[in-house]
């Protein structure tokens, strides 16, 4: 009898426990629902405020839609390709040729022998040169600041002198650096290159510092145990461990610099961006689209080369497919505008 009573009591207790647990779960769930609703309301309110700040108006979109449709017609001028309706590629090509966006080859009227040819690099090469020269100019500074900014090389808190310098450089976007350099010679490809070089010091230097923070202690100690001096310990023990990531990061910054070089043109820094800006002010939408296509080809080419190099260096890195590179192009372009 007593056993039955005991087991009966214990069953009742178990049910109570389950009820309590269930109630606890329900209260938690309700609390989460209330909090989610509150977060949603706050989020919606902030979004409305933001739209109000930028003067967003659906009515305006509707009002100007016909104009936009007209512009679209000029962005993509109708034509024919093999008898089928297609974009008028010839209109793009004639502008690309006329303004020498890619390159021009002159044969000097002496037949097809290639040594008689003169190649005139086009606007694309000005943009590419800005990105590349900016990278090379900024690289020594990035190396010095990046290495000295690491706590493994310069003891805390002195490393913050160098980290701080890089933070200040990064806090100012490359476009603003170009404006700062205006007294050196106006907004030209030269000052744009200086701006990109400065930007490279901050960004690449920071990436170098981060890579150095992750090096292993063992090889540094092993190099020290051979009787090597301080600089040799830094170079052979630390830097040699991060040679591959350094090259990979440098290639990545070349990609970013090429995109920044395009935006430099928009404020008058020359190259493809400048052509784009000029055609925009003339409302020549077909020419704008032709320029955008060349920008697309340039940036994608640099990215493909950079990715190949990085994937070769890392060996095991999964390389991004060409289709993914092309599909994600707009968002990368937008991102570089903000950087």
């Amino acid at each position: 009898m007593s056993t039955e009573t005991e087991s009966g009591t214990s069953e009742v207790q178990t049910d109570d426990e389950i009820d309590d647990a269930f109630r606890f779960i329900r209260i938690n769930k309700r609390a989460r629902q209330v909090f989610s609703l509150f977060a949603l309301v706050v989020f919606g309110w902030l979004f409305t405020l933001a739209l109000d700040q930028v003067g967003f108006s659906v009515a305006e979109i509707l009002e100007y839609w016909p104009d936009f449709e007209d512009a679209l017609g000029q962005f993509f001028p109708p034509g024919e390709l093999f008898g089928l309706p297609f974009v008028d590629v010839g209109a793009y090509w004639s502008f690309i040729q006329e303004r020498n966006l890619i390159m021009q080859v002159e044969t000097n009227g002496a037949g097809f022998m290639f040594w008689d040819w003169t190649v005139i690099p086009g606007q694309m090469f000005i943009t590419l040169s800005m990105g590349f020269a900016g990278l090379v100019l900024g690289l020594p500074g990035a190396l010095i600041l990046g290495v000295l900014g690491s706590e493994r090389v310069t003891p805390y808190p002195f490393n913050f002198i160098f980290r701080g310098t890089m933070s200040v450089i990064r806090a100012i976007p490359a476009l603003v650096w170009a404006l700062i350099y205006i007294p050196l010679g106006g907004v030209t490809p030269f000052t744009a290159t200086l701006a990109i070089g400065t930007d490279t010091m901050g960004n690449l230097g920071r990436l170098f510092t981060d890579a150095l923070e992750e090096v292993e202690d063992g090889p540094i100690e092993a190099i020290g145990s051979t009787g090597a001096n301080g600089p040799q310990r830094v170079i052979f023990g630390m830097l040699s461990q991060v040679a591959s990531p350094f090259i990979a990061w440098t290639m990545y910054i070349l990609e970013i610099n090429t995109r920044i070089a395009v935006t430099m043109g928009l404020i008058g820094g020359g190259g493809l961006g400048y052509v784009l800006q000029t055609q925009r002010s003339l409302f020549k939408y077909t020419n704008m689209m032709a320029t955008i296509l060349v920008i697309f080809v340039l940036v994608i080419s640099v990215e493909i080369v950079s990715q190949r190099v990085r994937s070769y260096i890392r060996g095991t890195e999964e390389s991004q497919g060409i289709i993914a590179l092309i599909v994600e192009f707009p968002q990368r372009m937008v991102r570089s505008l903000w950087q």
Binding site: E216, G218, P219, E221, A222, I223, G224, S225, T226, G227, A228, N229, P231, Q232, I235, F236, G237, S240, Q241, A243, S244
Partner: protein, 247 residues
């Protein structure tokens, strides 16, 4: 001749090495035995100048050890090589102590050092793999490159801190074979700390047994009886050796 007198090292309250004294004549191959935490690694690090002793002194050929020096070479348990570099370039870093910064940066090492790097790689059986990146090598091969680097230092004393602890038995035996062979060829005084008693007995000449930071045994192979091992390691290790001997 290596002389260690009254060497002690403590980390806070922990006495890692406690009043240790011994001498190693030129060319002797000494194995330090002991459990984990017995003070083997600390002793080796003091000998290499990587760790500063709390008390006592170490001298090599009558010169005091005050910090890392190029005539004391160390083989580490985890090899600690630069994985991005080739076996040859890793071995060459052994000559950094006698190469100035500019020459080492531009790769202008002395021709004798370059030859020494290749000779050392041949000693450990890796001459054909000299150009191979260390990151692509097996654990045993990497450890052999670590030995080559130590040999390039042309040391008076070779230290090996658990050099085969992270290797499989076959690789461990091969690697220890190379250490012993290199020491014999070059007449090197060697001090190797080892965990595996069977490997220690196979390659050691003289044995130093440590427990709780103190030396509790110092003698030659014949003196290293099961009872001594029992005292150094406790019964578990000794039982394993007994059953191995019976088998």
């Amino acid at each position: 001749m290596i002389e260690v007198s009254n060497l002690s090292k403590s980390y806070g309250d922990i006495q890692a090495v406690d009043d240790v004294s011994f001498t190693i004549p030129d060319g002797e191959f000494v194995v330090v035995l002991g459990e984990s935490g017995a003070g083997k690694s600390t002793l080796l690090r003091c000998l290499n100048g990587l760790t500063e002793p709390t008390e006592g002194s170490i001298s090599i050929n009558d010169e005091s050890v005050l910090g890392p020096r190029d005539d004391v070479a160390m083989v580490f348990q985890q090899h600690y090589l630069i994985e991005e570099m080739s076996a040859y370039n890793n071995a060459l870093t052994g000559s950094l102590g006698r190469t100035n910064l500019f020459d080492s940066l531009t790769g202008r090492y002395e021709i004798e050092d370059k030859h020494e790097a290749l000779r050392s790689l041949r000693t450990v059986g890796l001459l054909d793999e000299a150009g191979q990146s260390v990151g692509q090598m097996s654990g045993g091969q990497q450890q052999r490159v670590g030995i080559a680097r130590a040999l390039v230092q042309q040391p008076n004393l070779l230290l090996a801190d658990e050099p085969v602890a992270s290797l499989d038995p076959a690789s461990a035996e091969r690697v220890m074979g190379y250490v012993r062979q290199a020491a014999d060829e070059r007449g090197l005084s060697t001090l190797a700390s080892l965990h595996q008693v069977n490997i220690a007995r196979e390659f050691g000449e003289r044995f130093i047994g440590m427990k709780d930071g103190e030396i509790i045994f110092d003698g030659y192979r014949d003196d290293l009886t099961v009872d001594v091992i029992d005292e150094i390691y406790g019964t578990i290790e000794t039982d394993a050796i007994r059953s191995e001997a019976e088998a």
